[in-house]
Symmetry: C2
Subunit: 229 residues, 2 copies
Amino acid sequence: MKATFRDVKSDIMAKITSGEWEPGRLLPNEMDLAEIYGCARATVNRAMRELADEGVVERRRKAGTRVRMAPLRQARFSIPIVRVEIEEQNSTYRYALVSQEVAAAPQWLRARLQLAADCPVLSLTCMHYADGAPYQFEERWISLGLLPQAQEADFSEIGPNEWLVSTVPFSDAEIAFSATAATPDLADHLGCAQGAALFTVERSTWLKGEAITFVRQSFRPGHRMTSRY
Amino acid sequence: MKATFRDVKSDIMAKITSGEWEPGRLLPNEMDLAEIYGCARATVNRAMRELADEGVVERRRKAGTRVRMAPLRQARFSIPIVRVEIEEQNSTYRYALVSQEVAAAPQWLRARLQLAADCPVLSLTCMHYADGAPYQFEERWISLGLLPQAQEADFSEIGPNEWLVSTVPFSDAEIAFSATAATPDLADHLGCAQGAALFTVERSTWLKGEAITFVRQSFRPGHRMTSRY
DNA sequence: GAGTGGTCTAGACCACGTT
DNA sequence: ACGTGGTCTAGACCACTCT
């Protein structure tokens, strides 16, 4: 029975988790491992490449492969569209546009997105409901310099998030999670007390270095974002 | 000049982002792509496997490879040890143990970790400071059923997080982000107003299906957790 | 300079799921 | 049944970087 890349990977992982191969330890090179496991070097290579991707080992040409000193733990979060997130909970989704206006980008937004001083932006605020109850308040700014067609789009039925995903499916983004106190306006829309602790997601998006949009999503009190790793 | 797997990957990515290959579109099979790009099938395979990992395409045997309907965006967060996080900001780290006691696991904790009714746990609370200012308040519960040696450990100098990482380096975990209002106790330790909005991370950890530990980390007001993707 | 990982090849067999 | 992706092989050449 020859070893598959999964066999090699899990065996090496076991040696590391059991402490047999301690942090900093130099692993045998790929040729030797291939001989040990009775498989081709490419098979070992794939196992080791995946372990390196996952942050378990560190590889450098000539220097070889070592167990990472501080095991680098990382979690992956999928960034869902609000509608999908709500529908996956078997709740009924409802969307409402609260306000819409075009104006020059305020200074704080220009700083965040590195926008030109006179760049016009479309400002939107909207609400997302789950089973009729307020779920998320969304404040959105879209650069009209890069996406002039946003001014013609109808955001009364479809949310800006979904419009953007269908218009500009791939882009670079920076995402930030934080907690903020509910302003009077937010409290009003979300139906919570002023000052309530709200989970907040902020995301800046660029396409080839040009700023597209900035969004701040404030969730109803008690919202949790979870992941396994 | 033959195509590398990076060439193939970025060319296919370009066809998708440009809209030439729209969502749902069936891609040519690996043999055909290999011929198109003038490379081996294994090269195409690696390119496509990475695109599938990144959520750009969806692959199924016999059914072939399709552009994902809703491009699945995902962000990777590395989960740092508090000390490392603070030191990376070029701040001075200080740790303090606030309280420590052994007791039977309360009901809510047993429910979260699926612990036996009579399982004793070590409860710890500690503070982490950056440049002398409160940075994070940590509430930690460690199962003594699985980790009896935790009772002997000295948590007055080294934090439970670092002790655990060096004792049980790899494990399964569930992580949750949320916002909570500062309790009087939290406000006292973090030096903030009662009811202030605090960014909170909760993490449950298992080793081979057995619960190890649960931790709630509450950050000082204004804390942000960021990532690019 | 020499040893390591990084990648490609041409071929093969297999596992799975659609038809 | 059959076409697709999933994986393995044995060999080769290359790129990086440590000494």
